[in-house]
């Protein structure tokens, strides 16, 4: 397998100077008055190394600002690394931005021609695939209108369809696969899968973990400009989730730095009059260890520490498990705590045990709430404040999607 691209220990430093003079006049004034603002060095990338072999797909994931786009630009040759080297073969295609060379006053067809020529096709070649591109972008009716009349979705579809027609041996893509509705996204993904099947190579950066899971042979996780992990898609994705979780914890600590509150607010919101409060929510696995991640099919115990400020005779309790996209997986309510638990003391803990959660791997939220028994208003409701990470047990998870984890058994009927 020959290496198509090798990046060795590349780092990239940007000098950021406050009030950098952007005109000659200001520069001269600064030189004369001797008033410099100290330039700050910002290292966007530290010591990143990677290599791509023929026929492999490499994914790059990381938080916003981790350096994915900077890395891809350097790999493409737009700018040079501050240290380190990049060696690449010549013929590669890139899709770093959509609509390069498009002019709003030109029609879709004319812009398509410009885009194609920019990619290296001759006019004749572009004309030959023109209809295919228009068909892929589903713009047959509008292709002869100026692109300033297009909606942003139409514009992006045309740009993507034009760019993807070009057939290089190796393509570098930066997060541009998130355009269009889900049907179009599926078409794009299928096109890239065909690309991979044809033995071509691909490097792409994405936030869509499903795409990364289904396309990549190998994934790199970037965090603050460093390669934190490089390996199998599944493990890279869980590493990414871990990092994201740590980030939000860090951020929550920054925000809630005053009184050490018992609740770690990861995100989400809390509403209610607080006449009754849920002061802490803890999760335990089946071995009674405090955790907020379990394996698919595992059990969980949810402990709620509550308190109420004035003497309330009774309250209602709500507990639900919602998916990342706010789909309700499960919800239950206790209509009257008196009826189930008997009269409750003012401070205490309740526990809820869910023996086996048949949930597919992903991030879920435990939403809990205390309400008056007539459900007229809210005492305390925690929405998306308590995440639960469900991890996979090493199965071929790409064959499953959705929420519920079932084990299909296939057989042939005689």
């Amino acid at each position: 397998m020959s290496s198509l691209l090798i990046a060795e220990n590349i780092s990239k430093c940007f000098t950021i100077q406050k009030n950098r003079p952007f005109t000659l006049k200001d520069t001269i004034i600064q030189l004369l008055t001797g008033r410099y603002n100290r330039a700050n060095k910002f290292w966007a990338l530290h010591d990143v190394s990677l290599s791509l072999e023929q026929g492999r797909v490499l994914g790059i994931i990381g938080h916003n600002g981790a350096g994915k786009s900077t890395l891809l630009r350097l790999l493409c040759g737009l700018g040079s690394p501050t240290t380190g080297r990049i060696r690449r073969i010549r013929s590669f295609g890139s899709l770093l931005e959509l609509g390069s060379g498009f002019h709003p006053d030109m029609t879709g067809r004319e812009n398509l021609l410009t885009g194609g020529i920019l990619c290296g096709l001759t006019k004749r070649q572009v004309k030959a695939v023109e209809n295919e591109i228009i068909h892929f972008a589903e713009l047959e009716e509008f292709i002869d209108q100026p692109t300033r009349t297009y909606s942003s979705g139409m514009y992006l579809r045309l740009a993507f369809a034009t760019a993807i027609q070009f057939n290089p041996d190796f393509l570098i893509i930066d997060e541009v696969l998130a355009v269009g509705d889900s049907r179009f996204q599926q078409k794009c993904l299928d096109r890239l899968k065909a690309f991979r099947k044809a033995g071509k190579s691909l490097i792409f950066a994405s936030h869509d973990l499903e795409q990364v899971r289904s396309l990549c042979n190998e994934v790199i996780v970037l965090e603050e400009g460093r390669v934190v992990m490089q390996g199998e898609p599944e493990s890279a994705i869980s590493c990414y989730h871990d990092l994201m979780r740590q980030r939000s914890e860090k951020r929550a600590k920054q925000i809630y730095n005053e009184a050490p509150s018992n609740i770690t607010v990861e995100q989400g919101s809390r509403l209610g009059t607080q006449e009754a409060k849920i002061s802490d929510v803890r999760l335990y696995d089946t071995n009674n260890r405090a955790t907020n991640s379990i394996f698919s099919g595992g059990g969980i115990t949810i402990e709620l520490e509550y308190s109420f400020t004035k003497s309330l005779s009774d309250m209602a309790l709500l507990l639900g498990i919602y998916s990342e996209t706010n789909v309700k997986c499960f919800e239950t309510h206790v209509l009257s705590t008196n009826a189930v638990f008997g009269p409750l003391i003012e401070h205490g803990s309740l526990s809820c045990h869910l023996p086996a959660l048949p949930l597919l791997p992903g991030i879920y939220h435990i939403n809990v709430g205390l309400f008056p028994t007539d459900w007229n208003y809210v005492y305390d409701y925690h929405w998306q404040m308590h995440p639960l990470h469900v991890l996979s047990k090493n199965e071929a998870v790409s064959y499953f999607s959705g929420i519920v984890s079932l084990c299909p058994v296939w057989s042939v009927l005689k």
């Binding site: 940007f14 003079p21 952007f22 005109t23 000659l24 006049k25 520069t27 630009r73 493409c76 040759g77 737009l78 700018g79 040079s80 010549r90 013929s91 890139s94 770093l96 931005e97 609509g99 390069s100 060379g101 498009f102 002019h103 006053d105 030109m106 004319e110 021609l113 410009t114 020529i117 920019l118 990619c119 290296g120 096709l121 001759t122 006019k123 070649q125 030959a128 695939v129 027609q165 070009f166 057939n167 290089p168």
Partner: protein, 259 residues
Amino acid sequence: MPNTRFNISTYYPDLIIHLVKRDFSLRYKGSTIGIFWSLLLPLSQLLVLVFLFGKVIPLKIDAYPAFVFSALLPWIWFSTCLNSSASLFLGNRDLLKKPSFPPFILIIVNTLSNLLSYLLFLPILIFILFLYSRHITPNLLFLPFLLLIQCILIVGLSMIIATMNVFYRDIQHIVGLGVVLLFYLTPVFYRAQSISESYKFVYTLNPVAVMIESYREIFFYGSPPMWSSLIIAMINSVVILIIGYFIYRRRLHHIYDLI
């Protein structure tokens, strides 16, 4: 799906031709009078100059309109290119973000597109020359050579301006001002012979002045251009091109950081 390999010998010319065509059609797209509107610009300038220096402050030059117009047209090519070159890199970020696209193509496209405009106006110049019974001689055949020298000069200057404008945004205004001043310092609407000897050498250093004079030689006077000064102008232009290219290459990866 067509398989492409980046063959520079066909990619660059194809791209340049396509972009020049596109630039041209964009200029006249959407306006009903189109091309005639753009003819109005040089013609109105001509009218003002003829009025001013024919009637108000008479310079007493025969066939003044033909005299001016033969120098005005190449000047317009020069000044339009220089003024538009400043925003070439900044205004085409999307093209620059395509790794296969070398930014200097934009400069060549800009120069050639304005050259095309110049060539379109030529018939009008010929017509005006006829009007004033000037002789059309075979010395006109030197035109391609003059065009070549001017192209080299314009491309060289444009590279410097376009590159530096990315870092210092007021270059655009400085160039605008410079071009206006240069117009008065170049014998477009007056005779270079009128200048006293002590200042003459300044003009031989100014490649634009030499070239404008040369255009006037072949069109208005119908005589061959002054070779000695033209060779100097050629050398100046090539030097400027080399300097421009050097500045462009050195600053190119900084430009990518700022884009």
